[in-house]
């Protein structure tokens, strides 16, 4: 456990060094919520308080985009030869993968903390239990996304392929989910596809935790189960691929 904490410490430090990227993502989230969200919520009248629904979706989306950083960092490390160092130290591959996935989840929370706190303050959520549940939902999702990102990065072993797949995944995972619009308003095929999307359950569980628009949301128990399956699957896969596929020198 101590070694996992050390991996988390290292990854947290690395995120703090990427200030320009962080500021860019913050700026994006604030603009989306503060400008686009306000404008679009005036158009959408069929749903009560779409603005809050939208803002919550943007928070989860942004956390997703921070959690996938881990995969990109794996490529940076491979380019610098740093992967070999990580593979040479007395850490099991499991500790390395789990540490990095957990760090991905924590980093996303730390990164979005000011925006989440500001948002909760604005909508008047102060119940610690609800705040705690919401954070657990967000953390579970981003923990899984980091595992997914590690699995793909190590499995593909190609920065270009990873870029393409993550770009495509980013486009689909957001649009084929209930992050920005409820399943009830989606065309049937899209609604079906969105039921296979962890982002749907993460966004809905987040909203449910904050007691918002509950009649539009997926069942919270189902959401919780899906998120647990998601994060377990990709972290176990990440460990397996790391152990089987990753060799220092073969990346270069």
């Amino acid at each position: 456990m101590t070694k996992i904490l050390l991996v988390i410490e290292r990854d947290l430090r690395s995120l703090m060094q990427q200030k320009s990227i962080l500021l860019m993502r913050w700026f994006y989230a604030i603009v989306q919520i503060g400008i686009f969200g306000l404008a679009i919520s005036r158009i959408i009248t069929v749903m009560q308080n779409y603005y809050t629904y939208y803002a919550m979706g943007v928070i989860v989306m942004t956390m997703y985009s921070v959690a996938i950083f881990t995969g990109y960092e794996i490529y940076d490390e491979a380019d610098l030869g740093y992967t070999e160092y990580l593979l040479s130290i007395p850490l099991t591959r499991r500790e390395l993968v789990l540490g990095r996935s957990l760090a991905g989840g924590i980093r996303s929370l730390v990164f979005m903390a000011p925006i989440i706190a500001g948002f909760m303050f604005l909508i008047g959520i102060v119940d610690p239990l609800r705040v705690g549940m919401a954070l657990v939902a967000l953390f579970g999702f981003t923990f899984g996304v980091s595992g997914l990102s590690i699995t793909l990065a190590v499995g593909l072993k190609s920065g270009d392929k990873f870029d393409i797949i993550m770009g495509a995944l980013d486009a689909f995972i957001v649009r084929l989910s209930s992050a920005l619009y409820p399943q009830a308003f989606m065309p049937k095929p899209i609604a079906i596809l969105s039921t296979f999307n962890p982002l749907t359950y993460a966004a809905d569980l987040f909203r449910w935790s904050l007691n918002f628009n509950i009649h539009f949301l997926a069942n919270p128990v189902t959401s919780l189960i899906v998120l647990v399956i998601f994060l377990t699957t990709f972290n176990v896969a990440g460990v397996a691929i790391y152990e089987r596929n990753l060799e220092g020198a073969s990346w270069r």
Binding site: L6, R13, Q18, Y82, E84, L87, S88, P90, A249, S250
Partner: protein
Amino acid sequence: MAIVSIRGLTKRYGENLAVDHLNLDAREGEILGILGPNGAGKSSTLLMLSTIIKPTEGTAEVGGYDIRTDPYKVRELIGIAFQEPKLFWFNTPWQILNWHGKVCGIENPKLAAERMLKELNLWDARNKYANELSGGMKKRVEVAKVMIQRPKVAIVDEPTAQIDVAGKYQIWNMIQKLREEGSTILLATNELGEADRLSDRVAIMYRGRLRILDTPRNLKDSIPGGDVIDLRTQNPIDEGIVEQLKRVPGVVDYTLVKASHLRIYLNRAERILPLIMARLNELGVEIASINMKEPSLDDVFFHYTGEVLEEADEPDSVSS
């Protein structure tokens, strides 16, 4: 007693056979120099021992643990200083050593990091980011990681490549100190002087295979007539004197360069020189000067591979 035991270790990158059924043992507490040009298979061997890459065939044991079946145990025993320092740009030397110490489970990593940074004259640079450090500083930080770890088996891969003379001495001292503290050291190098200076035994690798393994002294002595004595005399040397000298045991060959200049090829010159001197004295030859030269590891390398080390250099199959 062998602390590292390599058996039939092979690494293939596609068509390229980097390490070819290597068998090699490192004894506990020794500095084993692994000498060879780029592409000889040194780095691949060390990366396999460190469990960073997987062997295609064969295996190795480190401290009794198999690199294939007990890689974690092996990593607990091994510390590696890479040829290219592996320092992530956002880390400072202080953070690097402190974190490395913690991961390796050493006692009081902060104190160890502080001591090491001061010892290496890096204290003033402790809060600089890795990408702001000079090449020599990066290299010293890389070696310092192994120094604070004090592993059972320390692997140092070309530790002084691209380092100035003062830096080389500092790193050599660090390596010797590490051995004095109980580590076995595997030193990969393509610098003959470095291998000669530091190693208890030298393994010459060439094209993925082990060509010869012995002490530097024995390797040099293994070249027939490898030692050379240049003998200059006050009076001309005649055939009779040459015939007498040829009968001294250990003399392999000779060349009469000039009438008063004889070049003698022999083994273990330091032992035979007194005999030669005594014989010349008996023959009444007045000596003007004596110059004795033993073979270098370059001569050894040439003897066993047919190439000089620089000519044998070719791009490595792995860039570590």
